[in-house]
């Protein structure tokens, strides 16, 4: 039987929330955090196969440095949410701020609303999906993985990217340095659609793909 815990964050510091979460994650399958109060740095450093639901909005650096959990944030997230995403699933039901999904390595990050600038900078792997629009410098210095934007993306998309792909259903702003735009191949579009439909998101029939021209930066060995 699934064991569920509730954590009321209203009178706890961020450090106390995280410490308590880690204790509960050892013995429970699901944890609900009430009254997060847009605190910074919560659901950070949690490991294990546990579902965490945050019943409200979070501040900066939410759900960073986690390994294993499935996290659902029912409201908005601030800057740098899902920092270093690895082997986890994070769903943000609202909007998210700047620098979200920085340095993701594997797993899936979904933002159902809009995101601000610098989404997925230096991403190495995994999937980042945005239901709404994304700001400028999306995918800056990206090395791998996929960023999927169901709405529009602002200028500077793929700035200095080295690998990976950015798929956009809406308007694509001026690409960044060493990035180019083409129509996404049908097979890849089918893959995108089946992925985003899992999260209740839709896109158009045709998608644009932003990719690296690989002229600017040259590396002999990739990290993986």
């Amino acid at each position: 039987m699934e064991s569920i815990a509730e954590l009321d964050a209203s009178h706890l510091t961020s450090r106390e929330v995280n410490a308590r979460l880690k204790e509960l994650a050892l013995t429970h399958d699901k944890i609900s955090i009430k009254n997060p109060g847009a605190k910074h740095n919560i659901v950070v450093g949690v490991r294990g196969q546990v579902e965490i639901e945050v019943l409200g909005n979070v501040g900066y650096f939410a759900a960073g440095l986690i390994y294993g959990p499935k996290v659902r944030i029912m409201g908005n997230a601030g800057w740098f949410a899902a920092d270093n995403l690895d082997n986890s699933e994070i769903i943000i039901e609202g909007n998210a701020g700047t620098g979200v999904g920085t340095n993701a390595r594997s797993g899936t990050l979904v933002i159902k609303g809009d995101v601000n600038s610098r989404l997925g900078q230096v991403v190495k792997g995994g999937n980042i999906i945005v239901g709404g629009n994304a700001g400028f410098f999306t995918g800056m210095m990206m090395m791998g993985g996929a960023i999927i934007i169901c709405g529009d993306v602002d200028c500077g998309v793929g700035e200095s990217m080295m690998g990976g792909c950015i798929y956009v259903a809406g308007r694509v702003g001026k690409p960044g340095a060493d990035a180019a735009v083409c129509d996404a191949p049908e097979a890849e579009v089918r893959g995108i659609k089946s992925l985003i439909e899992k999260y209740g998101l839709n896109g158009k029939e045709s998608w644009k793909k932003v990719y690296s021209l690989k002229k600017l930066l040259r590396y002999e060995k990739r990290e993986y």
């Binding site: 009178h11 900066y60 701020g97 601000n116 700001g135």
Partner: protein, 312 residues
């Protein structure tokens, strides 16, 4: 620093700004106080608010001053005596390492008094206007409230700031909000750094704008005052700032009729906004906006190179 709200150590950030218009109440002081408490981790050095009274003074200007020494206080009183519109001598309050006071003077005397004060290096004007008062201190929001009872002040709108000093000293005169001595009833708060500060400052000084500090944020007040004195609306002045300012910035401007904001083209400094039936709240972080209007209102982040104004 130790967080005043929870007593725990929190990471310091880089200044926090807040602004609010209330459409259904007059508890601006209380709301601003809550917003600044929730932003305190962004700036431990100084805190300040600018609040606009419900009813502007008809034939008087409110002048708020600071003085660093007893000599400066005497100098100020001697300058003010022929002009103030009250029977009692103004009371000086200690605010960190300075004293502050508030007097009512005739608008006709304003120019004379301001130029007299500018001749004394240890006297500074914090605010002047028919409805504006700026209160600031070295320390946090709780100290500001203990010193001036901010939470009980009434008004329809106001702005506030918590400071982490970067390029100028920790001193009550260097705390925000700032006002230009060239335009009454205008206040600004700022998060960021203006990298072409000296160039713009020299340009404004050549046009007669005198700076009281070397805090780059004061430039914003002077610039907006300059533009509006030449007939620009607040919106036009803010649009101009997006072209003329270089650096990273989010700032909020308040006049008796409006609140305005601008965010730099790189979006390097945060600004969150809520527009709802209760009013308008703008702040560096969502937590402050929600402290004004609650957990379930819609809050969005303003995009880079954006400006906006709202009528009170």
């Amino acid at each position: 620093m130790v967080d005043e709200g929870t007593g725990s150590k929190r990471e310091e950030n880089m200044c926090g700004i807040a602004g609010v218009i209330l459409r259904r109440s007059e508890e601006t002081g209380e709301v601003l106080y809550r917003m600044l408490l929730s932003l305190q981790h962004r700036g431990p050095d100084s805190t300040g608010v600018a609040i606009f009274r419900m009813k502007a003074k008809d034939n008087a200007m409110l002048l708020r001053l600071s003085a660093k020494t007893e000599e400066a206080k005497s100098f100020a009183l001697d300058a003010l005596k022929p002009h103030w519109q009250a029977s009692a001598i103004p009371e000086w309050r200690m605010a960190g390492r300075s004293w502050t006071t508030e007097v009512e003077i005739s608008p006709d005397s304003l120019k004379t008094i301001l130029s007299y004060f500018q001749s004394h290096p240890e006297l500074k004007v914090h605010s002047f206007g028919r409805s504006l008062s700026i209160y600031k201190c070295v320390g946090g929001a709780r100290l500001l409230n203990d010193s001036y009872s901010i939470a009980s002040m009434r008004g329809r709108h106001g702005i506030g700031h918590v400071r982490l000093a970067t390029e100028s000293k920790v001193d009550v005169d260097y705390a925000h909000p700032f006002q230009s001595l060239n335009l009454a009833d205008l206040a600004i708060v700022h998060n960021g750094q203006l990298t072409n500060y000296y160039k713009l400052r020299r340009w404004l000084e050549k046009r007669g704008y005198k700076f009281q500090t070397d805090n780059d944020s004061e430039l914003i007040a002077q610039y907006i005052a300059y533009q509006m004195a030449r007939g620009a609306t607040l919106a036009e002045a803010l649009r101009g700032s997006l072209e003329d300012f270089d650096g990273t910035y989010s700032f909020i401007v308040a006049t008796p009729e409006e609140l305005g904001m601008a965010k730099d083209p790189l979006g390097a400094k945060p600004m969150m906004l809520c527009e709802c039936e209760d009013g308008v709240a703008i702040a560096s972080e969502e937590v402050a906006v929600r402290s004004a209007f609650g957990d379930w209102v819609k809050v969005r982040e303003l995009p880079p190179k954006e400006m906006a104004t709202w009528r009170v």
